[in-house]
């Protein structure tokens, strides 16, 4: 039941991406629920047609950060008689729930944008799900094309051992297939696994082929499985690696990011609320302050999260850092012409299994983000994500970006550099706040399974803000104040007293 729910969620998000127009403009009246019709035409029992062959495939599994980044560079060839445009990618149900940022590009033609990817709708209980990649131009029979497929897997690691002492090193394990999962025959392939450190105590060894005796080959902080010879469609070779990762596994289960634009104040206010947790190895014996304090003298590498750095846009001001019980004083803000760096420390060092939800916020001049178009509308360009920039990376399970436009803003259109497959929902709502009468227009975009690699992707919003809406608030406030005064004056005319007897 759970997997089906997950799958339908994935299905809906991918189908949303598919129906969005190619240039990325979403209209806010768009309802994604009706978009299921496009994939409903696929028969329930789906077997991918064997129309392609992977001529050469390089699978790079990057375990350098606290999420997994996989990139597959593959030369595909159409072995069918007709031109084909649908390349199928297989994922397991479980993978799909943790998969994010799936992008497919043409390696030879970098300028052409990402291809459209959409899920293939099949029976919900099968172990495998398929994602269809729409090639922009159908590939002629016998022709070849090079695809660059990248995606991220969140919550991918298991700490091994699961509990460690606070001064011990943390090791993680990751399981995957040495043969890149594919629904097509693969003639030649290899899998590279990259690590953050050279300390890789355990990894599955496979018999070699050709002049290589044994796979994998270890090259510094890299393991290479392959090259392998031809493997049939669906061939898998499960392997497991265990490696040192003495850094925190920062997992943001929920991020709410509010961006409030004030035309009157000429200000853009940001507020971000993080539900952060450390997914690493738990402490085997409880926290020991003496050991922690002593270890701080020589500042070792530790798997505890001590500090986070938020490089904000230059010109950001008035930052604040709070949590549910008030201000947190352990923060620094460095602001000058070149940078605006917010450094925050959690109230306590964060060890595996510990949580620390917090809120940060800051202001910025509207002119840094907002510009007026020739036609009188406004264009707002803000980063979609501005989370901490950590060497070990940050993963976000749920992201809700709420763009609160001025009261009366209309005709909202948006586009973003975030992969369409990671946007699960978007729509315009009403947000009522300071002295609003009809409420402000709020564009709410929900993303899922994002990572800090997407920090520099923008969110561009265009909207109209007519003069009547601009003047609404002063008029409302003035008239209601006048009403109060006049009614008070009228009330004062009423004589509440009994006529004096004397």
């Amino acid at each position: 039941m759970k997997t089906s729910a997950v799958f339908s969620a994935v299905l809906s998000l991918l189908s949303l991406a598919s129906t969005s127009s190619a240039h990325g403009h979403h209209h806010h009246h768009h309802k994604h629920s009706d978009s299921g019709t496009s994939s409903a035409s696929v028969p329930p029992a789906f077997t991918p047609p064997q129309v392609f062959k992977n001529v050469n495939l390089v699978h790079i599994v990057s375990l350098e950060k606290n999420y997994v980044k996989e990139s597959i560079n593959v030369v595909i060839e159409n072995i069918d008689k007709e031109a084909q445009s649908d390349y199928i990618l297989p994922f397991t149900n479980e993978q799909l729930s943790r998969l994010g940022g799936l992008e497919v590009r043409d390696r030879k033609n970098a300028e052409s944008g990402p291809f459209i990817v959409e899920p293939v709708k099949i029976e919900l209980f099968g172990p495998n799900q398929y994602v269809r990649v729409r090639l922009p131009t159908p590939l002629a029979a016998g022709a070849q094309q090079t695809l660059g497929i990248t995606y991220y897997l969140l919550s991918a690691y298991k700490p091994l051992p699961a509990t460690i002492k606070q001064e011990e090193q943390q090791f993680l394990s990751y399981s995957f297939s040495a043969y890149c999962p594919s629904v097509y025959t693969t003639s030649k392939q290899k899998t590279e696994v990259k690590f953050a450190s050279t300390n890789i105590p355990d990894y599955t060894k496979l018999p070699g082929s050709g002049d290589i005796k044994e796979f994998p080959q270890k090259q510094g902080s890299k393991l290479v499985y392959g090259p392998f010879d031809e493997k049939p469609a669906g061939a898998l070779e499960p392997v497991q690696v265990r490696f040192e990762f003495n850094k925190p596994l920062i997992h943001v289960s929920h991020l709410e990011r509010d961006i409030e634009i004030s035309h009157w104040g000429g200000n853009v206010a940001f507020e971000e609320r993080y539900d952060l947790e450390h997914r690493g190895a738990n402490l085997s014996s409880l926290f020991n302050r003496v050991k922690w304090q002593q270890s701080q003298y020589y500042n070792p590498v530790t798997h505890a999260l001590k500090e986070m750095k938020f490089p904000l846009r230059v010109g950001s001001a008035d930052p604040y850092y709070t949590d549910v019980i008030g201000n947190v004083s352990t923060s620094r803000f460095r602001s000058n012409k070149r940078e605006a760096l917010l450094e925050i420390k959690p109230r306590y060092p964060l060890f595996g299994g510990w949580k620390y939800p917090f809120t940060i916020g800051w202001n910025s001049d509207a002119k840094n983000f907002l510009r007026k178009t020739a036609t009188g509308g406004f264009v707002l360009n803000v980063p979609f994500l501005e989370g901490p920039k950590q060497a070990e990376g940050v993963e976000y399970e749920q992201v809700v970006v709420r763009l609160i436009l001025p009261e009366g803003a209309e005709n909202v259109k948006w586009t973003t550099g975030i992969p369409k497959s990671s946007i699960s929902e978007a729509g315009v709502q009403i947000h009522k706040t300071f002295l609003d009468t009809i409420g402000r227009t709020a564009l709410v975009i929900k993303g899922r399974n994002l990572v800090d690699d997407f920090r520099d992707r923008d969110l561009t919003v265009t909207y109209d803000y007519p003069l009547s809406a601009v003047l609404r608030k002063p008029i409302v406030v003035f008239s209601s104040a006048m009403t109060v005064f006049v009614s008070l004056w009228l009330l004062s005319l009423i004589n509440l007293k009994f006529t004096p007897k004397k």
């Binding site: 014996s285 409880l286 926290f287 020991n288 302050r289 003496v290 304090q293 949590d323 549910v324 019980i325 008030g326 201000n327 947190v328 004083s329 352990t330 109230r347 306590y348 299994g353 510990w354 949580k355 620390y356 939800p357 009522k432 706040t433 300071f434 002295l435 609003d436 009468t437 004056w489 009330l491 004062s492 509440l496």
Partner: protein, 778 residues
């Protein structure tokens, strides 16, 4: 009786002119804003406008002088009790009034729980809730925390206004009211309980107290049922807000009684008192926590007694008008005597039979300051229940305290009904303020009023007296008898205009001196507020070597850790001081908290803290304790820690288990309370001692471990060993230490042997590792 009838003869004389002037004065001075609006434009408008502006400025000063902590720290709830009020307010806002009313809180007093809705004064929370929802309705989305933090300053502005109104009832001098307002606004005695963040019942109660008194005076002067009802209404609000309402309940009857004894019984008194008492008592009984107390406890009996007495007097008044005077004399004596006798015997019988509860412990401690220390250590353990040291009066009231007698003296000069009230209030209030530190708060309003009367009289006398000739016209209304009396016989007799108080020299001297005093007063108030009353106590401030402020935030660090990293229903055992904070900030169930209603439960925690581990562990298991929280100031030199409070835990536990916990055993044979090597075995084996110093000496080089609060070096014996609990978290500066209670041993061993086994095995392993190495070297 006899005396009072005789006394009334000479005293009656000032009364008639008073009555008439009072009516005139009230006609002019009535602070009714509606009336003022009507008066505006008839010549007084400038004055009214000026007064409104001054009052607004006073309110502004009152509010802004309370914002030190918000500016210095942040918008945060202070200290202990406010955290409960804040939590209750959040509950009210989230769940609505009726759920709040029926709130059973299972997260406090585990496993008993607390019928919170029925055991609190809801006035404060409801006030904040109403303000919150009103602002929301105006679509001003304000955080409930900010409403709570700023409630006390906002109400202090209103209190200043209420003091203005009250003082205006006392004297015709218009400056007195304004002076009283500013005194009330910035007097440290009131600020101590109403800085921003001090979200306690007193925050609104002092306004209600002063305003109720104003309405009472108003009702009494006019003999008006309307004002009496208004007085009852605000009295009801006061009852809903603060347990100190009993002060009104006792003071108003006392005032009435004194008036009667002075032979000043009148229908005005009858109407105002009966309408206040009847309606006010009904209103107060609507609060579940008060319920039937007004007819059942001794504290409320004076009010009931005076109510009955007034009925009698009214009846006698009627009888007197109906029968001849000689018969009346006899009738009076027989009747009054018998009724009084019957009433008193009835009261005594009802009390001894248990229908009327005798005076509560807190009330006893008001008569005998040593009472609580012997019988109810839990009351004595609270610092604000200690008797007041005399410098505290100067600290909290500064020059007002020496103006108070002058003001009282001036009240004696006039001695109208309302002045009797000030005198009674001042005597009553001074006594209680001397007995209990926190009751300084109830004294402050009358001190402000009396001081303002005195000061304004001085200033009026010296500044307004321009020359004797126009004085005669002026004197009649605005500065009646007072100025004449203060300025001594010289006023009428002197023919030379430029001596005495008319001389510029004396005017300048007095005015200059008073200005200097006032400026010093303002400086003092600012200093006191800034230094003594603006610390949130949740957050501590210290200075870095470079002079920048460093925030010590250990409390919140630990509370946040508890909140995030323990399971939602983990029970926390701590001394009761921290119960409300744990409930508010860590959001975890506690065993005991600052609502000290169950002494036995608190004593149980005290016993667990004061006993050996083997005794404490079963107690903690029985109470499902998951974590224990202790406050330890040894590293930082933070003196308000648990070791310093420990003796109170011992005393309270001893009160219930005198055989198991003995205070004497915590003192050395020479009677010293020590924590170093010379500490007694009982002390060293107590759970509290072990938890405080566990692992502490590892922070120092061997033998160097030092406790900076007690200023002693700790024994170099490896520190206390804990078997049945383990350290779970210690905050950055070691102020908060949290221990986890171990589960029962898997192999059924007791904890001491289990942990001894573990330690032993570890040592063996170390030896084994070292063994081969030595061989290799060989």
């Amino acid at each position: 009786m006899d005396q009072s009838v005789n006394d009334s003869e000479p005293l009656q004389q000032p009364a008639p002119p008073r009555g008439s002037t009072n009516h005139q004065i009230t006609a002019i001075m009535s602070a009714d804003s509606l009336e003022r609006l009507a008066v505006a434009g008839k010549g007084d408008s400038t004055r009214t406008l000026l007064r409104v502006i001054i009052l607004l400025l006073i309110a502004g000063a009152a509010i802004s002088s309370r914002l030190f902590s918000v500016i210095r720290f942040e918008s945060i709830i202070h200290e202990f009790d406010p955290w409960f009020n804040f939590r209750a307010t959040k509950y009210l806002v989230a769940n609505g009034f009726y759920k709040f009313w029926d709130w059973f809180d299972d997260r406090t007093w585990h496993p008993l729980g607390r019928v919170t809705g029925g055991t609190l004064y809801p006035g404060l929370m409801v006030t904040s809730g109403v303000i919150y929802h009103a602002l929301r309705a105006l679509s001003i989305p304000v955080d409930i925390r900010n409403v709570c933090v700023l409630l006390a300053p906002a109400f202090s502005g209103l209190t200043a206004y209420a003091a203005y109104l009250l003082t205006n009832e006392m004297t015709p001098s218009s400056s007195a009211g304004l002076l009283a307002a500013i005194f009330m606004g910035i007097a440290p005695g009131y600020i101590s309980r109403s800085v921003a963040g001090s979200y306690d019942n007193e925050a609104i109660a002092i306004f209600l107290l002063v305003f109720t008194f104003y309405l009472w005076i108003k009702a009494l002067k006019l003999g008006s049922m309307l004002w009496g009802a208004l007085c009852a209404l605000f009295y009801g609000y006061m009852v809903a807000s603060w347990g100190g309402y009993a002060f009104i309940t006792c003071l108003l009857p006392l005032h009435a009684f004194v008036l009667i004894c002075m032979g000043r019984y009148s229908t005005r008194l009858y109407v105002s008192y009966t309408s206040w008492y009847a309606l006010g008592t009904l209103a107060s009984m609507q609060i579940p926590f008060v319920g039937f107390l007004p007819v059942k406890t001794s504290e409320h009996m004076p009010a009931l007694g005076i109510f009955g007495f007034l009925q009698l007097l009214a009846f006698l008044d009627y009888v007197r008008s109906a029968i001849p005077s000689r018969q009346f004399q006899t009738f009076l004596w027989v009747f009054a005597g018998s009724v009084f006798g019957i009433g008193l015997t009835g009261l005594v019988i009802a009390t001894s039979a248990g229908y009327i509860a005798p005076w509560g412990g807190r009330f006893y401690s008001l008569w005998d300051t040593g009472y609580a220390k012997i019988h109810i250590p839990i009351i004595a353990s609270v610092s604000e229940h200690q008797p007041t040291a005399w410098p505290a009066f100067f600290f909290d009231l500064n020059m007002l305290i020496w103006l108070l007698p002058a003001g009282i003296y001036l009240c004696y000069q006039k001695l109208a009904d309302e002045h009797v009230f000030v005198i009674v209030y001042a005597l009553f209030g001074s006594y209680f303020a001397g007995v209990m530190v926190r009751l300084m708060l109830t004294l402050t309003p009358v001190v402000c009023v009396a001081a303002a009367i005195a000061l304004s009289t001085i200033l009026d006398t010296y500044l307004k007296a321009k020359s004797p000739i126009p004085e005669e016209h002026l004197v009649e209304e605005p500065t009646d008898g007072t100025s004449k009396k203060v300025s001594k016989p010289g006023l009428r007799a002197s023919s030379k205009p430029y001596i005495g108080i008319y001389a510029t020299f004396s005017k300048v001297t007095v005015a200059g001196a008073m200005t200097a005093y006032l400026l010093m007063f303002v400086a003092h108030c600012t200093w006191v507020t800034s230094n003594a009353y603006s610390s949130p106590s949740v957050v501590l401030a210290s200075r870095m070597p470079d002079g920048s402020q460093h925030i010590i935030d250990d409390y919140r660090e630990a509370y946040q850790w508890l909140r995030q990293n323990t399971k939602d229903d983990a029970k926390i055992m701590s001394w009761w001081d921290y119960g409300y904070q744990i409930g508010g900030m860590a959001d975890r169930p506690t065993l005991v908290d600052n609502n000290t209603w169950n002494n036995t439960h608190i004593a149980t925690v005290g016993k667990a803290m004061a006993s050996r581990e083997e005794v404490s562990y079963p107690i903690m298991r029985q109470h499902e304790v998951d974590y224990i929280l202790v406050v330890f100031g040894g590293l930082l030199g933070y003196s308000g820690d648990d070791i310093n409070k420990f003796l109170w835990m011992v005393r309270i536990a001893e009160g219930i288990w005198p055989d198991e916990v003995k205070e004497r055993e915590f003192f050395t044979p020479r009677g010293e309370y020590r924590v170093d090597a010379g500490a007694t075995d009982t002390m060293k084996n107590s759970l509290m001692y072990k938890m405080s110093y566990h692992n502490y000496n590892n922070l120092f080089p061997p033998g160097q471990a030092q406790d900076r609060v007690r200023g002693v070096r700790l024994p170099d014996d490896g520190g206390p060993v804990l078997n049945s609990i383990e350290e779970a978290f210690t905050s950055e500066n070691w102020i908060i230490r949290i221990y986890k209670v171990k589960d029962l041993d898997n192999l059924g061993r007791d904890h001491a042997s289990a942990s001894a086994f573990e330690r032993g095995q570890k040592k063996k392993k170390v030896i084994k590792k070292k063994g081969p190495r030595v061989l290799r070297v060989d």
